[in-house]
């Protein structure tokens, strides 16, 4: 590039806009070329205040630690003891979130079941219904009851260890779903009672109830059908966590699943994923407050999801008051999704390992988010299950390491007092002091 013009006057250096970034411009060009918004999988990719902005303080003179590998640090959790005859006992507080059959292949569902069962935790069905692969390989299976009711039938409902009424998902509070025609194999079409090859819309709200009063009656019906045996969870997006948690408890839920905006989805409009909902960090305290205000904390369980990746995230979620967490995206990565070993194929799809999110197109090189029989062959459910089990074990060991360092003999004994925040935002959202201070924005009595 020339630094001067012909008359010797210096050029200003080319300056990229902070508003019209290369990414933004590529979005505009894509929109202009196609006339349709961008649909993709995954969760919010923008940076939002998160558990990374929190730190544990560890032990000191006033708090003594527990010996790693020697002194016990319990990890078990029981979900649904409030109303259900048969609550769910899990060895670890990390569950596998609901992911639809259709979005995921049958073998991927099988691997989730294998890995979760080996690690002593539960899996969850998703839109599209229950598959035999999943039921067969999951010791504890939660059956999602979704607005679309695709594949929903009372025989499967009665086979479930718990029922999860899905009101919303963190990636798209207020949104339904769409499985594009190219992913509708004969099997998927049959399970959903629709012709092959057409786009399948999943409704954004339930066809036979609206609002908290109806929800209470819906829960009653589901309990009557299943003889009051299994727990009923209600899954809500991180939209209005205080009120949604309150209303779910009042409607009679045994557990509340709360999903923040980083939470993954199989396919949703990018604008929805990035601009609707609240970060996972911001939604825990209001939900726990709701539980406490109703005297239901630890009686109705809170399962938190949306961007949980490590034992540190698990420990932080639990310290803020959650009883358990759920993982979606991280489980898929453990299975082999977005693995750099497929880099050449990701490049051919116009992307790169780690950034691949066109799960709805069904061309997943890793053979996980696809219904293509050839691609599916690349994925071995036994090996996938083993990898997931390992990953769940590591997360648990990490969370225990932190808990012991804080002197806790059960993950549930972690508490907000163990934490500090690195930023003002995180301090305000988590209601824990900014590091080095005894203050957080909004702390009662401080006037700020």
């Amino acid at each position: 590039m020339k630094s001067h013009d012909d008359k010797g006057i210096p050029h200003t250096s080319p300056r990229q806009s902070a508003t019209f970034t290369q990414d933004v411009n590529s979005d505009i060009r894509r929109a202009a070329a196609t006339g349709i918004y961008d649909i993709r999988g995954g969760g919010a990719k923008r940076k939002v205040p998160s558990f990374d902005d929190l730190l544990f303080m560890g032990a000191s003179i006033s708090r003594y630690p527990l010996e790693g590998y020697r002194e016990k640090c319990e990890t078990s959790v029981t979900i649904g003891g409030l109303h259900a005859e048969n609550p769910i006992h899990l060895d670890i507080p990390i569950t596998i979130a609901g992911m639809s059959f259709g979005a995921l292949s049958g073998p991927a569902k099988e691997a989730l079941g294998r890995g979760a069962s080996a690690a002593g935790t539960s899996t969850t069905t998703g839109d599209g219904g229950m598959t035999p692969e999943e039921r067969g390989h999951s010791n504890k299976l939660v059956y999602q009851y979704l607005p679309s009711r695709y594949g929903m039938n009372p025989d499967d409902l009665r086979k479930a260890d718990a029922i999860e009424i899905v009101v919303g998902q963190g990636a798209k509070p207020g949104g339904g779903g769409m499985l594009l025609g190219q992913k509708i194999s004969d099997r998927v079409a049959h399970m959903r009672n629709l012709p092959k090859g057409i786009d399948q819309r999943s409704a954004c709200r339930h066809p036979d109830w609206t609002g908290p009063d109806d929800l209470e009656i819906k829960i009653l019906e589901l309990r009557e059908i299943t003889g009051w045996k299994v727990p009923i969870y209600v899954k809500v997006a991180g939209a209005r966590p205080y009120y949604d948690t309150t209303l779910a408890i009042k409607a009679g839920a045994d557990a509340v699943v709360l999903d923040g905006m980083q939470g993954g989805t199989a396919a949703t409009q990018d604008v929805f994923i990035e601009h609707v909902g609240q970060p996972t960090l911001a939604i825990v305290r209001p939900a726990v407050q709701a539980l406490q205000d109703l005297g239901m904390h630890r009686k109705v369980q809170l399962i938190l999801s949306g961007g949980i990746r490590s034992g540190a995230d698990v420990a932080k979620a639990m310290a803020l008051g959650a009883d358990a967490v759920a993982i979606g995206t991280a489980a898929l990565i453990a299975l082999g999704d977005n693995d750099p070993k497929w880099e050449a194929e990701y490049n051919a799809l116009g992307t790169t390992a780690g950034a691949y999110d066109d799960w709805h197109e069904g061309k997943d090189p890793a053979g996980i988010t696809t219904q293509d029989p050839e691609l599916m062959k690349r994925f071995d459910p036994i090996e996938g299950g083993r990898r997931l089990k390992n990953y769940l074990k590591v997360m648990t060991l990490e969370a225990q390491t932190i808990a012991r360092a804080c002197g806790k003999n059960h993950l549930h004994n972690l508490e907000p007092e163990d934490l500090v925040a690195l930023t003002m935002e995180a301090a305000a959202m988590a209601k824990v002091p900014l590091a080095g201070t005894d203050w957080y924005p909004g702390k009662p009595g401080t006037g700020f």
Binding site: R149, M178, L180, P195, I198, A203, D208, E221, E224, I225
Partner: protein, 227 residues
């Protein structure tokens, strides 16, 4: 015949007694008295029994029904027969909204009128209404047949898939991607069979058929205005 009083036995007691009926039971005829608009009566049945509910019912009577025949001697609340798989529900009075929502099979007969969103997301059920039905009926209906001997309200069959609608009277308006269709011999036969099974004395020839124009089956930006 077994007669149970809902107010005495409680909802749990009544449903537990009905659920305990095995497929080969000889207690096949049940009467539930004092329904008093209770919710979730006789839901989740899975045996070829016949249940008569005396009085009006609340939400979700006969929800997810399999095999059983349920007679409602009164009017039926919202979501009656939701996600029914098989069997039959006969409503002597009127039906509230979301009748037979997402139901996969069996038949629902309404002797009065049905309210809005009748047959929403229906997935194979046959619904026959002697009177009129409300707005947004059969929204996203996937399969099965909705027969209306009276009139249909606004936006019939909006965003429907392969469900068929037969209306004898007026349709106030059709929903997105729903259109009037030709009545072929096979449809006349099908419809007459449904009318006969429901016990309504109408001729199939008096009805008009509606169904999906299939223009919205695969997303096309030029159709965006239709949604």
């Amino acid at each position: 015949m077994q007669t149970v009083d809902l107010q005495e036995l409680g909802l749990r007691g009544v449903n537990a007694a009905l659920h305990a009926q095995a497929a080969d039971t000889n207690q096949t005829v049940w009467t539930i008295e004092n329904a008093k608009g209770s919710h979730a009566i006789a839901c989740g049945l899975d045996a070829p029994i016949e249940v008569t509910v005396k009085g009006s019912t609340g939400y979700y009577c006969g929800g997810m029904n399999q095999q059983a025949t349920i007679n409602i001697h009164g009017s039926a609340g919202p979501g009656t027969g939701e996600n029914m798989m098989s069997g039959k529900i006969i409503i002597e009075g009127d039906a509230s909204q979301y009748l037979g929502a997402t139901a996969h099979g069996g038949m629902i007969v309404v002797k009065g009128n049905a309210s809005s969103r009748c047959g929403i997301s229906m997935k194979g059920v046959n619904i026959v209404v002697q009177g009129n039905i409300g707005h947004m009926s059969a929204f996203m209906g996937q399969s099965g047949n909705l027969v209306v001997c009276g009139d249909a309200g606004d936006a019939l069959g909006d965003s429907c898939y392969e469900a068929r609608f037969f209306v004898r009277g007026e349709v106030k308006s059709l929903g997105a991607d729903c259109e009037k269709k030709e009545m072929r011999e096979e449809h006349l036969t099908l419809l007459q069979g449904l009318l006969d099974e429901a016990g309504f004395d109408f001729k199939a020839e008096e009805f008009t058929r509606y169904g999906s124009a299939r223009n919205l089956y695969n997303f096309d930006v030029d159709n965006a205005g239709a949604y």
